[in-house]
């Protein structure tokens, strides 16, 4: 789409547009005061020369609820009564033969049933686990995919696959692709924001929101949910807001003088960047200020919930807060918000682990869906829920484990769900076999999911490309089919 040799020049081209704009403003740059500059339209991480839309878009924004570690699908989303029956039995050898595990010792492995109870909910009658009492009230809005699959059975390759369509570090993530393709709608905030509720950290760290080979302006910006939200957002200690504003005025005046003198368009971009930085300083703290939210909203999300757990204390409130902040961000035009919740990697203590993690996440996520719907935002906001893979129907009998209390990584079939943003809710897509090993109907590969998400945003996944190292790279590599059933 954009030949590589022009990449360096996109800023220049962008700047040329601005130069034309500035050339027509009678007052000249040097005398423009910051206050008036602030009224002008801003472009954050967006570049008019690269914007494109191939198909009529259904979604404008996305909230991606990333469940790091791999939540167990047969305990949450995909009931397997037969598996419960076969609890303690070995796996059919035909299946085991060609399979690799991260930790399970194949020969001694036994199937492990689920202690959870499933019931049907909503008009659609979707079956969900008893661990999801809140989500069960939203089933008519969500499309459950029980037939997700991929090849990556280790965390980081799996997460990179899910987030960037490749198991290798260095590729742009979904949020970067969308901002690259569509630009940002927000005048004051980055187009791609990341919030994280983490225990021991993410396997990929910042590569989980990297812009890869796309310019850095398309990378996700990590936000804190308290205090000063963005690194270096707050003025240095003791520097007042007036002093900041007065300083910025002179910075722009002097940059304007230089621009008049030598005409390098990059200076105009620099002026713009400083205006936006200042606007972000004004806006971002307001984003975190929940005092304008009603008590009902705060309670619905569970922001004020008490969290007495000894491990990861405070996650309940923190995740609830992140969900509410996600809504506030999409309200303000942020294109892509990723909420990481770590970790669902339950190799052991699956039961207590799932209880804890659903306790943290179920209520706020359901509240988010309802809140978005109530405010009329759900139609254009795509919500995605899922991890990098699912978990095995086999119990995990790792060498040094005394008891089998968990499940290993399982990329061959797992569940994810989507809602809003052009998704047809109240349906289940795909099926797995009776023990939940493999997909038996309507398989959805990660590339298919990505193709579908891009389509919802009006982008043809085969056309959204970027030339790098002599190749036209796509989010979907060389495959991907839009899952038509998902579309409303």
């Amino acid at each position: 789409m954009i030949p590589e040799q022009f990449n360096n020049q996109t800023n220049e081209l962008d700047a040329l547009n601005r130069r034309r704009f500035f050339a027509t403003s009678a007052s000249g740059l040097g005398t423009l005061a910051l206050a008036s500059l602030m009224k002008q339209d801003g472009l954050f991480a967006s570049d008019p020369t690269t914007q494109l839309s191939h198909i009529a878009p259904r979604a404008k924004r996305c909230i991606y609820l990333f469940m790091e570690g791999g939540p167990s699908q047969m305990d949450l989303f995909d009931p397997k009564p037969k598996l419960n029956e076969l609890d303690g039995q070995p796996m059919p050898e035909s299946i085991l033969k060609d399979i690799k595990f991260a930790f399970i010792q194949k020969e001694a492995a036994r199937l492990m049933g689920s202690p959870r109870t499933f019931r049907r909910y909503g008009e659609c009658g979707m079956e969900l686990s008893d661990l999801l009492p809140h989500l069960s009230t939203c089933v008519d809005d969500i499309a459950m995919i029980r037939s997700m699959h991929c090849e990556q059975f280790n965390h980081l390759p799996g997460q990179l696959m899910m987030l960037s369509g490749s198991d290798l570090q260095g590729r742009p993530t979904l949020g970067s692709w969308l901002n690259y393709g569509l630009g940002s709608e927000s005048q004051n905030l980055p187009g791609y924001v990341v919030l994280a509720t983490l225990g021991r950290g993410l396997p990929g760290g910042a590569s989980s929101w990297s812009s890869g080979f796309l310019p850095s302006q398309y990378a996700g910006t990590l936000f804190r949910n308290q205090g000063s939200p963005v690194l270096n957002l707050a003025n240095p200690t003791g520097l007042s807001s007036q002093a900041q504003q007065r300083s910025l005025q002179t910075i722009n005046e002097l940059n304007g003088l230089r621009f008049d003198q030598i005409g390098n368009p990059e200076i105009a971009s620099r002026i713009k960047a400083y205006e936006l930085a200042f606007r972000m300083q004004q806006t971002a703290p307001e984003l975190l200020d929940l005092s304008g939210e009603t008590k009902t909203t705060l309670e619905e999300y569970g922001v004020t919930r008490e969290d007495t757990s000894k491990t990861n204390t405070g996650f309940m409130g923190s995740y609830a807060r992140n969900c509410l902040l996600a809504r506030r961000m999409v309200e303000r035009g942020v294109r892509f918000v990723t909420l990481f919740l770590s970790t669902w990697d339950h190799h052991s203590s699956l039961d207590s682990g799932l209880k804890r993690y659903t306790q943290i996440s179920d209520q706020p996520i359901a509240a988010l869906l309802k809140d978005l719907k109530r405010r009329g935002l759900l139609d254009e906001t795509l919500v995605v829920f899922g991890g990098e893979f699912g978990r095995t129907p086999l119990g995990e009998n790792r060498v040094n484990f005394k008891k089998v209390t968990g499940r290993d990584h399982h990329p061959y079939s797992y569940s994810m769900w989507l809602a809003g943003g052009g998704i047809k809710g109240g349906q289940v897509i795909g099926e797995t076999d009776e023990i939940g090993w493999g997909v038996t109907k309507d398989p959805v590969h990660v590339h298919d999911l990505h193709a579908t998400i891009l389509q919802l945003f009006g982008l043809d996944h085969k056309k959204l490309t970027y030339q790098f190292q002599g190749r036209d790279f796509r989010l979907t590599d060389v495959s991907g089919n839009v899952v038509e059933k998902l579309l409303a």
Binding site: N11, F153, A206, N235, R246, P265, R270, L276, Q281, G470
Partner: protein, 793 residues
């Protein structure tokens, strides 16, 4: 190239004259004897009749039934073939049609070959252009200027004037050493009447040890240098810096590029390799490595080799070999088999290490011991009083052994039988001992990552069918792509050293072109070829092909001296042009493809930091050695798994940006915000974005603010009650030029407003800092936030 045959002429079509040129030009790149896209080749009559995956392509005598006609005939200006190109001209299509109608005759045994890629054509020194007139505005200082001026004149473009001396000295400093000139150096240069002043300055900078840092960092981008493994484990590579230091030293010593290359690719295979030559092989140890529990080790071993092949291809051959990992290269004449032949050069390497002894490490250790020892000696004395009665010599020896072997607190439990542990104060003394042993300086044991060749159990290499590592296809042996000049066939056991030497064979067309283009890129912001890692079909074409070849030959003939090439380029008039966009009224060449001016661009991430430190005088100029960790808030480091980030102390905090420890999963945010590469793959050209996060970093980042504070403090001290003088000095330090009247006016107004605000604030908050200082710091902050500061003009 266009066919001379008119489609309507009565004369029969002549294949060689009329048809072959069309095929060669438009079809054979993708459809030749070797690369057969869609399994189709147009290299011979048989191949054409045989057709591809869609069956026969041609029915002699019957164009209507010939699939080839369907493919090339356009509807609404679009044709299926040639792919990603404009359709063939109507005339060309008509010629093919007539040729088929007339029976599609193809001279017996005639084989068509794809056109040779420009970059693979033999490299010869081109003659200097003769068709240009010297002009007074643009002096011809070097042959480079002749090539550039000829293009200006051909396009009717008037070049910009030469830049002034202030701009030139700042440009040279930034380009050659990545630092700023001190004001007095600038003034001396401006006043210097010596006609060789500029040349002398260049020589002085090229012999500065900071030159190796600046140009070393470019190389580290290519080498995807980082201080950690990447992936989930992302373990630290505590001695990776030894390779970085090797690069800096090699470049400072101007190690010729051929030798520089050979040592990095195959230093271990040289005759009696020195430690330095072994350290050089660290180049390919910079690859990411996945140590996540439960991973398929063989899969990730093969991924590392694929990265090594790709990197080697991009850095030396300017070829995107990676495209041939899973199938024959779709655009360039590299087959999948050839990819795995190159792969096999790297398939028998063993990761090893080289012991490194640095005198500074020893000194550092001795100093640390000197600090540590007294407390320990004192404790030893105290311990005496706890000894059990009648300790034998043997027991004493035992104690010494236990203490020497100390690793963790519980090790001290072994001492209990020798001491009166019930005696009052033992616990305290025991924990003090524990504390001291924990902080005992470690003896230097630096081991640089390196490569050696596997001697036993050598691996065979097979093609990976569709790139899948555990689906072996044909067995291959080491070899180089057939499209490039062959190796002298001295034996059948080619190794990495043969490969590295092959790159510098006299008849190798790629290496010199690719290498010299990168030097040019670092001095102009853009390469003559805009895609420095791709000289293939899909890469950019050179804007000045003759100049590129001339420079490439020159590089080779100057014995691959990087310094000689840089010197020659920066002495040219072309390099010394003004970079102002309005320097000459030229609207035809907005992107400066024809080099009518220098380019102006934001400096690299590390240099943004370095010049702040230079201008404020805080810079610690230590070269090489271990990396540093400038302070970072926990929420940044917490996103990675178990990231330890103990902030560097003392002046170390103010070392150059290139020494910031690069942890791949938690890269230093300031570097990433300013487009430093993420070190996942080789990077030959950085992006240059211009974003609000950059503004926030420069305005509010603690290190940047500290620089402004320091500069402000110094100005108050040096120029008390003389605002004008202070502003002038700040301008000299930051921009190598004095401030204009208007700039003084703006800054004076800002100072007085800021002083008022500071005064008000100091009364309200009872701050102890004098308001004059507060205001001066804020003025320094304004100056350091100007676009000009981080721009190389």
């Amino acid at each position: 190239m266009a066919s001379t045959q008119n489609a309507l002429s009565a004369e029969p079509v002549n294949f060689i004259r009329d048809v072959a040129p069309i095929f060669e030009r438009h079809c054979l790149i993708c459809h030749n004897q070797r690369v057969r896209m869609g399994e189709l080749s147009l290299h011979s009559a048989d191949a054409l009749v045989k057709g591809g995956e869609n069956g026969e392509a041609l029915v002699p005598g019957d164009p209507e039934s010939s699939y080839l006609m369907d493919l090339v005939t356009s509807t609404d200006g679009v044709a299926e073939m040639p792919k990603e190109e404009s359709p063939l001209s109507k005339n060309d299509v008509a010629i093919i049609r007539r040729w088929i109608t007339e029976g599609a005759t193809w001279p017996k045994d005639l084989m068509l070959k794809p056109p040779v890629l420009w970059s693979m054509k033999p490299l010869q020194r081109p003659a200097l252009p003769a068709n240009f007139r010297p002009t007074p505005q643009f002096r011809i200082r070097t042959p480079i200027d002749v090539f550039v001026a000829a293009r200006h004149q051909k396009a009717g473009i008037k070049p910009a004037p030469q830049a002034n001396r202030r701009t030139l000295i700042r440009r040279l400093y930034l380009d050659l050493v990545g630092l700023l000139p001190a004001p007095q150096v600038v003034e001396a240069f401006v006043a210097d009447k010596d006609t060789l002043a500029y040349e002398k300055l260049v020589d002085q900078l090229l012999s500065s040890p900071h030159y190796g840092e600046r140009w070393g960092r470019y190389w580290l981008d290519l080498a995807r240098y980082a201080d950690s493994d990447g992936y989930l484990g992302d373990s630290m590579r505590p001695h990776a810096w030894v390779y970085r230091e090797w690069v800096i030293n090699a470049i400072n010593e101007d190690l010729p590029f051929d030798q520089f290359t050979i040592e990095q690719l195959a230093g271990d295979l040289l005759d009696k390799p020195t430690a330095s030559q072994k350290i050089a092989t660290g180049f390919h140890r910079n690859t990411l490595s996945n140590t996540e529990a439960g991973v398929d080790l063989e899969l990730y071993r093969t991924k590392e080799i694929v990265d090594r092949v790709n990197t080697t291809g991009m850095v030396w051959l300017g070829l995107t070999l990676g495209c041939a990992e899973c199938h024959d290269h779709k655009h360039d004449p590299i087959s999948q088999k050839e990819f795995y032949q190159l792969y096999s050069f790297f398939n028998n390497t063993v990761e090893s290490s080289v012991k490194v002894q640095n005198s500074w490490e020893k000194e550092e250790y001795e100093q640390d011991m000197q600090k540590w020892q007294p407390a320990y000696d004192q404790l030893q004395a105290q311990l005496k009083s706890y000894e059990i009665k009648d300790l034998t010599e043997k027991q004493r020896a035992e104690i010494t052994k236990i203490i020497a072997a100390y690793k963790k607190s519980t090790d001290l439990k072994k001492l209990v039988s020798f001491y009166q542990t019930k005696k009052n104060g033992w616990d305290k003394i025991n924990s003090k001992l524990d504390q001291l042993l924990k902080t005992k300086p470690a003896k230097p044991s630096t081991k640089a990552p390196s490569f050696t060749e596997r001697k036993k159990d050598r691996r065979d290499t097979f093609i990976h069918v569709r790139g899948i590592y555990n689906r072996p296809g044909e067995k291959v042996t080491p070899g180089t792509p057939t499209v490039l000049p062959g190796l002298p066939s001295k034996n059948n056991n080619l190794n990495r050293l043969d490969f590295a030497q092959w790159l510098f064979q006299e008849n190798h067309p790629m290496t010199a072109r690719v290498a010299v283009n990168r030097i040019w890129q670092q001095l102009f912001g853009h390469g003559i070829v805009a895609t420095p890692n791709d000289f293939g079909t899909k890469g950019a074409k050179p804007t000045h092909p003759l100049l590129l070849d001339w420079l490439a030959v020159e590089y080779r003939e100057r014995q691959w001296s990087r310094k000689a090439m840089i010197r020659m380029i920066v002495l040219s008039s072309t390099y010394q042009l003004s970079s102002a966009a309005n320097a000459s009224p030229n609207n035809k060449d907005l992107n400066n493809q024809l080099l009518w001016r220098q380019n102006s661009y934001r400096v690299n991430a590390e240099i943004v930091r370095d010049i702040h430190l230079t201008a404020s005088g805080l810079l610690d100029r230590t070269i090489g050695r271990r990396g540093i960790r400038p302070p970072l808030p926990a929420f940044v480091t917490d996103v990675g798994r178990s990231v330890k980030w103990p902030a560097s102390q003392g002046s170390e905090r103010y070392r150059r940006g290139m020494y910031i420890v690069f942890k791949r999963t938690v890269p230093y945010p300031m570097l990433m915000t300013f487009d430093a590469p993420d070190a996942t793959v080789s990077c030959s050209r950085r992006e240059r974005s211009n974003t609000p996060l950059q503004a926030l970093t420069l305005l509010n980042g603690p290190m940047f603010y500290e620089c402004a504070q320091e500069l402000g403090r110094q100005m108050i001290k040096q120029h008390p009650d003389n605002l004008q003088a202070a502003i002038q000095e700040m301008f000299m330090r930051c921009f190598s030029r004095p401030a204009s009247k208007q700039e003084l006016k703006y800054l004076s107004a800002a100072y007085s407003d800021l002083l008022q605000l500071a005064d008000k604030q100091s009364k309200e908050t009872k701050q102890t800092e004098p308001p004059q200082l507060t205001a001066m710091v804020q003025v320094a902050r304004i100056v350091m936030n100007l676009d000009e500061f981080i721009t190389r003009d």
